[in-house]
């Protein structure tokens, strides 16, 4: 009798698991259909793409890749798919290649390009170093800005070296400030030396201010950094003077 009851319970459990599986599969199918169909409202497609990005279903990856690769698709829907793929992270090589391909598209819209660069950074895609190295020298300042941000997220030695080189040649203060932030967040000693130079020599208060802030994040500072911070207490910018006074050294 007990064996019978046990068998029924087991059968019941199996049926429940199966039915949950079927229901989940149906939900994924529905999300895929919604994500791919441009007749659906953008909000529904975004919701579907975000859900697919967090799904373990194998079909989700293919769907996001299809949307991202479709040049006729709305740029912002593609950007959502790019973020979704970066969130999934695996299979890494394929996702990075897809993102790199989008960056090379001549007609990709600006916000999609920014999202691609940002996503490569979020993935710490050291494999995309060559692309990011090109982007950080792009003619458009916002592309350089997002590339610098992504290189900082990579945090690799070659990324740090490149950012240090770019800091000297960059003409846009906003991009230089982002390079300084990107370098500072690595907490790397080579980066520290570059921050010291920026704090001492950069003509723009915005850049010096970020150099001071980033140096303030280091657990221990070199003698050169301490000296630069001491000197910055007399910086012409009151904002920098206030920041430096708050930094322990």
């Amino acid at each position: 009798m007990s064996v019978k009851h046990g068998g029924s319970a087991l059968l019941c459990c199996i049926l429940m698991v199966l039915s949950f599986g079927v229901a989940a599969g149906a939900a994924v199918s529905e999300d895929i259909a919604t994500a791919l169909d441009c007749r659906h409202a953008v909000v529904d497609r975004v919701r579907a793409i975000q859900t697919l990005a967090r799904s373990d279903d194998e079909r989700a990856l293919e769907t996001l890749a299809t949307i991202l690769s479709d040049g006729s698709e709305d740029g912002r829907i593609r950007a959502t798919a790019a973020r979704g793929l970066a969130f999934k992270r695996e299979p890494r090589a394929e996702i990075i290649t897809l993102l790199e391909d989008i960056y090379q598209e001549p007609s990709a819209d600006d916000n999609l390009l920014y999202t691609v660069l940002f996503s490569l950074g979020r993935m710490q895609a050291t494999e995309a170093f060559a692309l990011l190295a090109g982007a950080v020298s792009n003619g458009r300042s916002m592309i350089r800005f997002k590339a610098a941000q992504a290189l900082g997220m990579l945090g690799s030695d070659d990324a740090i070296s490149l950012l240090i080189t770019r800091l000297d040649g960059e003409t846009d203060k906003m991009v230089r400030a982002e390079i300084v932030q990107a370098l500072g967040e690595t907490r790397n000693s080579k980066a520290e030396a570059a921050l010291v130079r920026a704090l001492r020599n950069d003509s723009e208060p915005l850049v010096r201010m970020n150099a001071a802030l980033m140096l303030g994040g280091y657990e221990s500072l070199s003698a050169a950094a301490v000296s630069a911070l001491d000197r910055a207490e007399y910086d012409e910018s009151p904002a920098i003077r206030r920041i430096v006074k708050g930094i322990e050294r």
Partner: protein, 312 residues
């Protein structure tokens, strides 16, 4: 002759300088939703009833907020993520036709004392967020990164990062300063239930009670209740003052369908946004990445011109 030369030089300089605008980078722009409505602006705090309306919470009539970054460009969080756009697309022509109204622009009360570098820093931080997700379920609202932003959450976050707290943190459950409204949800989807909605006037988060909110997993959860940060709450704060808008903020042609600030939708993946305090996120991030411990108590003393605004 010398006078004529001087006049000619002045004229050339004037012409070369082109058009210059008084609206400063860092100004916050606000507009209403359809028919000039903006949640909290009137006494009636109605939320959509049916699941169709609720799934597209444009019906919430939340309004929208964006950060002006200069040169007739804005950065704002819309349903497809944080993006940079022309300021004229802040309110599209189609939205104008549907009764969306520009509310105005505001800057911090002491913005004239901010240095140029401090104002630039706002833009720098806003640019860093471009490409981040939109928080479809309002579970975090102030990002960063994968947690996503809402429109007003993005603006608040950027200002907080430079140490200026526009809207004091906190939750308004219905006791304190704000508005309360009992709503009957008279539709099948909502089971003809009722709820009490609030609008916070002095702190960030307003409590909402909607029969579908739990099922759709919408809102930041605090003390077993669900909360949303509305643009009009931020607009009301006396930490900012209104300034003249002399740039185009409407009439653009951005796609109509994705111009909403407040949308929400059901999540099939219920664990996509575990509940974590947004303040903890912010503090953790800041301690980890930016500042020495001594400065961390006041994240950015130099960029807190109004430290008195950091009300508890």
């Amino acid at each position: 002759m010398r006078k004529i030369t001087m006049m000619a030089v002045s004229l050339i300089i004037f012409l070369c300088a082109g058009q210059s605008f008084a609206l400063e980078r860092g100004a916050i722009l606000y507009h209403t939703s359809e028919d000039g409505k903006m949640y909290g602006e009137t006494d009636i705090l109605e939320l959509p009833c049916s699941i169709t309306d609720a799934l597209i919470l444009r019906e919430i009539k939340s309004g929208h907020a964006a950060l002006y970054i200069g040169n007739e460009r804005i950065i704002h969080a819309v349903g497809t993520g944080v993006e940079e756009a022309d300021s004229e697309s802040f309110i599209t022509q189609g939205e104008l036709d549907r009764g969306f109204e520009y509310v105005g622009a505001k800057v911090p009360v002491d913005y004239d004392t901010w240095t140029e570098a401090e104002k630039d820093q706002l833009i720098l931080i806003a640019r860093q967020q471009v490409g981040a997700d939109y928080d479809l379920q309002f579970r975090h609202q102030k990002g960063p990164y994968d947690d996503g932003f809402t429109c007003v959450g993005l603006v608040e976050y950027v200002y907080e990062r430079v140490g200026y707290d526009i809207t004091p943190g906190g939750y308004y459950p219905g006791t304190g300063t704000g508005k309360i409204y009992d709503q009957d949800y008279d539709c099948i989807d909502a089971g003809f239930q009722s709820g009490t909605n609030t609008f916070a006037e002095e702190v960030e988060f307003s409590r909402i009670e909607h029969p579908l909110a739990s099922g759709l997993n919408i809102g930041m959860i605090h003390d077993d209740a669900r909360y949303i940060f509305f643009p009009y709450t931020q607009y009301l704060q006396d930490t900012t003052v209104a300034v003249e808008t002399d740039v185009a903020v409407s009439g653009g042609s951005r796609s109509e369908d994705d111009s909403w600030c407040f949308i929400a939708t059901a999540a099939s993946g219920s664990a996509m946004h575990p509940h974590v305090s947004v303040f903890r996120d912010f503090r953790d991030w800041y301690f980890r990445t930016s500042v020495p411990a001594a400065a961390a108590r006041h994240p950015w003393p130099a960029l807190s011109p109004g430290t008195g605004f950091s009300r508890p």
